[in-house]
């Protein structure tokens, strides 16, 4: 999945695991080289968490081959364990401990001299270094978690939720720091909460659905390969139903969204004018119309839902229109 020719840090072939709560996965092929930022876009998310637990050697896989850092993670020794960090969910902090104390303690344990000052600077935590961890807001707590994971310069960094609770500005800071780590040859793998950061930051997006990998590629390539259509949001005067337009050759699907309608059209010249003409011919007046290029979110949603056209009822969905 990565263009890099270096030996992969994570290599899985036909990996299967039976989770306890219906979150199993099967036939996972994964090959991630150093210097890669990869996102697991999993539905359900628990399958992504389960895969991470397998990659860490917490859970045994039932079938297939798995090599992380060149060996089965269940056989890791001290040195291998040190080279991998994982942040599971939102782990708590020791009570009555300050930000600086925790970071210096973890840095001390990881043998990272000066690591505390470095991450305080990198993650913009200097102003809260003397604050108690329990009194920080969720955003700053998440920053501290990510900062801890970077200490000791691990080769593989895994996150169950990386950008959770982060404002766009803080998310940008995290992306910049992790991009720096990636450029140093580290591998970053996380379960994606949202796809804006995936599109902005990742080299590889692995789309998992029903426990299988549906697609694994660069986000830009994924978007390019799946282009050729537009989403058009419309709001109309009077009654409108999907049947008015869904038979049109350039309409790929119609979906009701919060009182509006979202149509997927071929990205061809004139398709929008043709749609407007068709609506006018059927006596439907447009209140407004907005055209969007498909985002990675749209593309992944379509991958997960399949290519079927969305059927809607004959009457306008409950709306304020």
């Amino acid at each position: 999945m990565s263009d890099s020719t270096c030996a992969p840090l994570i290599e899985a072939k036909g990996l299967c695991c039976n989770g306890l709560y219906g979150d199993a996965f099967e036939d996972i092929d994964l090959c991630l080289a150093p210097g890669t930022a990869a996102a697991l876009v999993a539905n359900p998310k628990s399958a992504g968490f389960l895969l991470m637990h397998c990659l860490m050697g917490f859970l045994p896989h039932s079938r297939g081959e798995l090599r992380v850092l060149g060996m089965d993670p269940r056989q890791w020794g001290r040195d291998e364990r040190r080279r991998v960090s994982l942040v599971r969910g939102a782990p708590r902090f020791p009570f009555a401990m300050r930000v600086e104390e925790l970071l210096s303690q973890v840095a001390m344990l990881m043998g990272d001299k000066g690591g505390c000052e470095r991450v305080l600077e990198d993650f913009g935590l200097k102003e809260v270094r003397g604050k108690y961890l329990h009194f920080l807001n969720a955003e700053l707590q998440q920053l501290v978690r990510v900062a801890c994971s970077v200490l000791g310069s691990p080769d593989v960094m895994m996150y169950e939720s990386l950008f959770q609770h982060l404002s766009p500005a803080r998310a940008k800071t995290v992306r910049q720091v992790l991009a720096g780590e990636r450029d140093k040859g580290k591998l970053i793998l996380f379960v994606a909460d949202e796809l804006v950061s995936v599109a902005a930051f990742c080299d590889v997006a692995v789309v998992m659905s029903g426990g299988r990998v549906r697609a694994a590629d660069k986000p830009e390539k994924m978007m390019k390969d799946n282009s050729g259509w537009l989403t058009v949001e419309i709001e109309t005067e009077g009654d409108f139903c999907g049947a008015h337009v869904e038979k049109l050759p350039f309409v790929r699907g119609v979906e009701a969204r919060e009182g509006r309608f979202c149509l997927m059209l071929d990205d061809s010249p004139g398709s929008i004018y043709a749609l407007m003409d068709a609506l006018r011919a059927r006596g439907v007046d447009l209140r407004w119309l907005r055209v969007n290029r498909p985002s990675l979110q749209d593309i992944v949603e379509r991958m997960l839902m399949g290519e079927q056209k969305t059927e809607i009822g004959g009457r306008q969905a409950d709306s304020g229109t």
Partner: protein, 259 residues
């Protein structure tokens, strides 16, 4: 060696975080000191000198039991359940994080017991051969101080390790016990020890009984090493056994932790 060095380097941080939690400090240790003062104060008013060493031994044993088991297991449970320990998991010297925590509780508990001993000695004369004769005081303490500190240290280590085992051995069963208050914890312990009644005298083998008997011998009779020894080696055995169990069963994370 590196683990030992790191353990001591982390100790100040862990101790600071402990003393910042006033509630925890009071319910782990301060409460027992108050109990000691209250109990001995009442007895001092009634003046039955023979009862004072027994009462002091019982309260000190209770402090060790509560402060050791509850103090360690409650903190460790929070670390364990909340995922705090996971943060240290990848470190080659991760054992030092737990060791620093356990050592801090050991030291604090030891200090609390020493304070209790000083208080009962100064305020109520417990441990003196004869409360009116200065010379005998010195003699009694010279004989008893060494074994007394060793007995307290062994019992302290024993209950601290037991607190560690409680968390690691049966997490689900003890959950309600760990999050409840101390009195409930002691009552639960009594219920758990109920099967011991089936074997006559079996409760004497428990570390709590051993430490009580050792303290009674030292504080009440002024016995030296010879009087304490029959109770010290069972405590040492308990320590070794609990250390092995804690080492073998300790787990760093709960995989099904709620996210």
């Amino acid at each position: 060696m590196r683990v030992v060095i790191l353990t001591f380097r982390q100790l100040p941080i862990v101790l600071r975080t402990f003393f910042r939690q006033a509630n925890l400090v009071f319910w782990s240790f301060g409460f027992f000191l108050l109990l000691q003062l209250l109990g001995c104060g009442l007895l001092a008013a009634l003046d039955p000198k023979t009862l004072r060493p027994v009462l002091c031994s019982a309260v000190i044993a209770l402090t060790l039991l509560g402060g050791g088991i509850y103090g360690v297991s409650y903190g460790m449970w929070n670390f364990f359940r909340g995922g705090v320990l996971e943060r240290y998991h990848r470190s080659p010297y991760r054992a030092s994080a737990v060791a620093a925590f356990v050592l801090s509780r050991f030291l604090v508990l030891f200090a609390a017991i020493v304070i209790q001993l000083v208080v009962v000695y100064v305020a109520f004369g417990v441990g003196r051969a004869d409360m009116g004769r200065i010379g005998d005081h010195a003699l009694t303490w010279r004989l008893s101080l060494g074994p007394l500190l060793v007995a307290v240290a062994l019992a302290d280590a024993c209950f601290v390790l037991m607190g560690l085992c409680v968390v690691t051995l049966s997490r689900a069963h003890f959950q309600s016990y760990l999050i409840s208050n101390l009195l409930f914890a002691v009552l639960s312990l009594v219920v758990m020890l109920e099967p011991l009644r089936l074997v006559k005298g079996a409760w004497l083998a428990l570390p709590s009984a051993q430490v009580m008997m050792a303290l009674e011998a030292l504080l009440g009779e002024g016995a030296g090493w010879s009087g304490a020894w029959p109770h010290l080696w069972p405590l040492a055995l308990w320590c070794a056994a609990l250390a092995v169990v804690a080492r073998q069963t300790f787990d760093w994370m709960v995989l099904d932790r709620a996210r």
